[in-house]
Point group: C2
Chain length 424, copies 2
Amino acid sequence: MDIKTNQGNSEVEVICIGTELLLGNILNSNARWLAEELAALGLPHFRQLVIGDNPIRLKDALLESAKRARFLITTGGLGPTPDDLTKESIAEAFNSPLEEREEILKDIQNKLKISSKISSSNTKQALFPPGAEIIPNRTGTAPGMIWSPNPEFTILTFPGVPSELKDMWRQTGAPWLRNNSEKTQIFISRVMHFAGIPESTLAESIEDLLDSNNPTIAPYAGLGQVKLRLTAKGESLDKANALLKPLEKKLCDRMGLKFFGLDNDSLASVVLDLLRKRGEKLVVAESCTAGGVGAALAAIPGASDVFIGGIIAYSNETKQKMLEVPLACLEEHGAVSDDVVQKMALGAQEKLGADWAIAISGVAGPSGGTISKPVGLVHIAVAGPQGCKAVSENFGSHRERIEIQQLSVVRSLDRLRLDLLERS
Amino acid sequence: MDIKTNQGNSEVEVICIGTELLLGNILNSNARWLAEELAALGLPHFRQLVIGDNPIRLKDALLESAKRARFLITTGGLGPTPDDLTKESIAEAFNSPLEEREEILKDIQNKLKISSKISSSNTKQALFPPGAEIIPNRTGTAPGMIWSPNPEFTILTFPGVPSELKDMWRQTGAPWLRNNSEKTQIFISRVMHFAGIPESTLAESIEDLLDSNNPTIAPYAGLGQVKLRLTAKGESLDKANALLKPLEKKLCDRMGLKFFGLDNDSLASVVLDLLRKRGEKLVVAESCTAGGVGAALAAIPGASDVFIGGIIAYSNETKQKMLEVPLACLEEHGAVSDDVVQKMALGAQEKLGADWAIAISGVAGPSGGTISKPVGLVHIAVAGPQGCKAVSENFGSHRERIEIQQLSVVRSLDRLRLDLLERS
């Protein structure tokens, strides 16, 4: 069997390093994230390997990859502990020494707030092969590197911590790949976000468009949301854009209100923007999500000019005490009912003095379900200047507690979005 | 570089097949699930590969794997469409024909409820190498197989649909591996969780133990938390346990209160358990985390017998209105101060009628920082039956908003845990 060697190509491979991945301790979300990023850059990516913290196996894998690929991206194994061996293995595989970089050492010292001597375990994070370009790590102590052991093979190393990987990729990795891959065409890519529609239904209603070759459309299913990544290639930015724009418009027209945002938009950011334009304030009253909607809103920078707070009413007593939900209403309808969520929303709206309120109450499980109110049943109310509406959703009792909570957050923000659009 | 060949070993490799995985369209949850299952079987598993629906690359990967491993598990590529090529590639790689199995054809016919002729695309699902053992698929039309192209290498194929894979694994795959792997040893594994200590400091204080070969210790860094996985092997469960227990005790003694839980414990579950034992109730008052602590608590099943609710006080007005924080206090000290978080905690404790309260106020950024109160500064108060204490933490202005919020959640739960342990 002949393995294809690199012939001026731009083939990329990914190696995720960490015994914890092979033991199943953690989900390899980095691999998916990188896959999507590489697709957006228009870089062909044919293999992803997961390997443990074992220097011999890692060296084997590095040498195999060097035979096939133009670029290799590694994640993990850059930490200070003895089982972090990515750089050491790379250096050994390609017979290179490792040299201490003084400026990196100083930076690590600053980050660890150590005035005098740094421990030997952190010192090793400042070691790099001569000639390696540093990928700065703004948050952690593990910088990455871009290093070419030979002119036809370049390795880019990143830490396994997702937030560090993502920041370093965006700041340094992706721009570098964009400039250094031998592409004759420009790739542009746009993400369109949809809510309130299952992936299969969305896929069916755009079936005629899915086979398109340029631009391509790739669907990605999320919890309660779907996104489509549109990627167009052309000789220039203008030509690629001229292909992308009509498709974007077609999808936008066809999907109507199911379409809620582009690229980095989220339901929370869209809702905050709509309210900001109206100069209105939002509060929440959360039972089964217990702060999940609030946290989703506060995750968006600048949320505080719209979102002012809320009540987490996890017990019935708190619903009465803080939201003025009448005991009779709780007894008659139960905490998971249209009546109670409406009272919760109106209570929060009035008590905190806001224009809009979201209220949620549901059975997140795994226990507590009944025949009439099964696990997965969630009631959502949205109160606004023109009144209050409630809906119920059954997310299904097969779902995990945390999924039901997250779906409730997504669905409640989408209800508010639809209400705001209806009334604008 | 010499690749180790199989010498009567039980090494396992996994290949996940599907272009959708390489495009990042879906998360490879099968890989994690199989990894955990293999760890539970005590089967050493050193490589996971993801590869697209490309027969040439797949054949390369199969032949490479045959050189190294005793068992290969594949997922995906068993469907009826032309890009499902797993069995075809396996047969070609090992020079075997494929033969139609009549009983499988009939079963597919039954499942598709077709009385007469089956389409050619489904016919190919009934093709297998001579001598292959079938892994029945009770729900779908894609059976798997257990096939040994040579006496020292066995391939087990499964579909990519997670529910089908899991059922087939449990019914046929796992029992077969248990009976056919040449294991002389049992593996057991335990996770220990730590908080309030950086990974590098933890690693240094157990440096003398990290080189241990049996049991092994592997550290995993999380946001504000570190975990250690201890894995011991022995001829029997008792012997493996006899190795694991003393190490667990040693780590526990050495790390003191930094150690907070085992296996599936989280800070939230530990805090809830401590309070449950005392028969006490907990509330939260959250500014910059805006519900993050509440959501973390509510993620734990059964939280409601301890956690009763809280106030999200995202604006100063809400802090006054709902938590009785005096305007003078806000004006004098600022919202991010020991004084204000103490007032918030005491306000929540009293208003909601709880024994304990956590309060958080901080500068999550990216804007809003000043010289005296930079981005990353967070004040945390814990109020209990014996009084209220506040601390400040500076997580660093280089961190992302969401990280500062998550670190605040972790740190506040840990403060409460330490307070509870001090007073018990």
